[in-house]
């Protein structure tokens, strides 16, 4: 069971929901922090990091003594990361998408495997939850390959909860693809609604069942609920704005630490998610 927690709009409470859900489920789950640009789950789980690994990606290295400057590498590269100027091959590692096309087409085998650091991958346990997180290198533009690494590191036997990045473009898609359920966290404001609609669009392209959590549920208007009703999106939880929750969050405290009675509500939400995901799965195999 893989649950991806996403939102469209940033700052609606993805990390709050994913960490509280993970703590409520305890050691039966793994939390993957796939917001590799700004990973925050560790601030709430305070894990002891017991393993870390640098993640690298392919970039070409050219052996000019073998190169005949035939330009086949430059011709195949759609990202203009390699070019030939006279008898010089220029590589722009930051533009490289690691397709390795240049290496495949080079008739002289003059291109070998170099690398660019994407970031680090870290493993730890905190608040009874095992956490795997990615942390992109400052200045690195491409998040999806690191997100794929985080996802590939998960133990498939356990429930996996993914803390996704904001937005609706490639990093979010990478954090949602292949999940069994998408939990969309929103707030009942015009920005929240607008970005929720985009996020629902993305989820529908992927064809994954989804449900909503409305955070700061009493600060705004009713249009998110009306939209949810019209689109038949189940509202699985509402969290009112509570200065106590906001202040606890500011110090790195989770809701369930502050108010343990919320654990049952998160577990109940998990049961509902499981039910919806199983029904969808059953519907699929019946077809």
């Amino acid at each position: 069971m893989i649950i991806s927690v996403a939102s469209g709009k940033g700052g609606t409470g993805k990390t709050t929901i994913s960490t509280n859900l993970a703590i409520s489920l305890g050691d039966s789950c793994t939390l993957l922090d796939c917001d590799v640009e700004e990973p925050n789950a560790h601030l709430f789980l305070r894990p002891h990091i017991d393993r870390s690994e640098t993640v690298k990606t392919f970039v070409p290295v050219v052996d000019e003594s073998r190169c005949t400057f035939c330009r086949k590498c430059a011709a195949i590269c759609r990202f203009r990361a390699i070019t030939v100027v006279g008898s010089k091959v220029l590589v722009f590692p930051n533009l490289c998408h690691s397709c390795a096309g240049c290496r495949v087409v080079c008739p002289e085998k003059a291109i070998t495997e170099g690398s660019r650091e994407l970031g680090v991958l870290e493993w730890g346990v905190g608040a009874g939850v095992s956490l795997i997180q990615g942390r992109i290198r400052i200045g690195e533009a491409m998040a999806p390959p690191l997100i794929r690494k985080v996802r590939a590191s998960a133990n498939t036997g356990k429930t996996v909860i993914i803390d996704a990045p904001p937005g609706t473009s490639c990093p979010v898609i990478t954090a949602m693809r292949g999940a069994d359920f998408i939990l969309l966290v929103t707030e009942p404001t015009p920005f929240g609604l607008h970005d929720l609609q985009l996020a629902v669009g993305a989820v529908r392209i992927l064809g994954i069942p989804c449900g909503l959590v409305i955070n700061r549920a009493d600060m705004g208007d009713d249009r998110v609920r009306e939209y949810a009703g019209a689109e038949q999106l189940p509202i699985l939880m509402e969290i009112p704005f509570d200065r106590k929750i906001a202040e606890a969050y500011s110090r790195g405290m989770t809701i369930v630490e502050e108010m343990p009675e919320w654990k049952d509500r998160f577990r109940e939400m998990f049961r509902q998610i499981t039910k919806v995901a199983l029904e969808k799965e059953a519907g699929r195999s019946a077809q």
Partner: protein, 296 residues
């Protein structure tokens, strides 16, 4: 010409509300919404679109099963796992590298470029606005951000406008790098939480990496005054100019629901007064007034 880009690292700290409020206070300027992935500024500015242009990203592979000999070379070459055993391409996984297209022995793979968004030049009650819409689940957000910033600069030159105010995207990756390169300065709006502190630090490091001056203001500062102090201290250590504090107040949300900037909605509110002071501080700072390369 100067360009101030409002950024945050962490999402939801108030970038768009602050950008819109600055717009209410600035003289002649051009607005640019560089959060093309989840753009919200138009909800407050209600732009009237004057010019609409399609934005094309790179190509995406499509395998023609009629021509395909099922040799499996494309499967072997694809580093993104975008091709399945039935030789169907998952468009959301395809990176657009075209390696399979070029190397397919029976030329069975097409590579059409696809429209992946639109960008607009619009009129608003604050002046011209350049904004965009990236298609859902699309790539190339960085390219689109670069494009609309170029268009905003072009428009500013044509209309002899000296200031561009840009609403930036969250994070520190591709669209943010595209949004801050070459900017006059960044206005970083942070919140006084452990996440806010963590995310601000990473963005401040990115700003230094690209050598762009960065100002800091703390929104909702009274939710945790001690953390606000830590943010400001951390900011100073990273050579950021601390330009003010904004108190927590639902007036930002109320203004948003009314479709107005907080200055228009309640110009005497504490929030509006704080934002005005921040604006006046910023426009007087040396970083905003030095002669840029473009002016030499």
């Amino acid at each position: 010409m100067k360009e101030l880009v409002v950024v945050s690292g962490k999402g939801g700290t108030g970038k768009t509300s602050l950008t819109a409020a600055f717009s209410s206070l600035a003289g002649r300027h051009i607005l640019c919404d560089a959060d093309v992935d989840a753009a919200d500024l138009h909800l407050l500015l209600k732009p009237e679109v004057r010019q609409r242009t399609d934005f094309y990203g790179g190509g995406k592979a499509i395998i023609d099963t009629e021509r395909c000999s099922r040799c499996g070379l494309c499967l072997e070459l694809c580093r993104y796992g975008a091709i399945d055993g039935n030789f169907a391409v998952d468009a959301t996984a395809c990176e657009g590298c075209g390696v399979c297209v070029d190397l397919c022995p029976v030329a069975a793979i097409d590579f059409p470029t696809q429209k992946c968004g639109e960008w607009y030049i619009s009129d608003t009650r604050m002046g011209p606005m350049v904004h965009a819409r990236l298609g859902i689940a699309e790539e190339n957000s960085g390219k689109l951000v670069s494009r609309i910033r170029q268009e905003a600069t072009k428009l500013a030159e044509e209309q002899k406008v000296e200031l561009i105010i840009t609403d930036g995207p969250p994070g520190i990756g591709c669209p943010v790098i595209a949004a801050i390169g070459g900017a006059t300065a960044l206005m970083l709006i942070a919140e006084p939480t452990v996440s806010g502190l963590h995310d601000m630090s990473r963005l401040a490091d990115l700003a230094r990496h690209f050598r762009v001056p960065c100002f800091l203001c703390v929104n909702k500062f009274d939710l945790n005054p001690e953390m606000t102090g830590r943010l400001e201290e951390e900011g100073r250590q990273r050579l950021m100019q601390v330009v003010g504090r904004i108190p927590f107040d639902p007036v930002f949300t109320e203004a948003m629901i009314a479709g107005l900037t907080v200055i228009e909605y309640r110009k005497d509110s504490v929030v509006a007064v704080a934002v005005r002071e921040i604006w006046e501080t910023i426009i007087g700072l040396p970083a905003m007034n030095k002669q840029g390369l473009r002016m030499l």
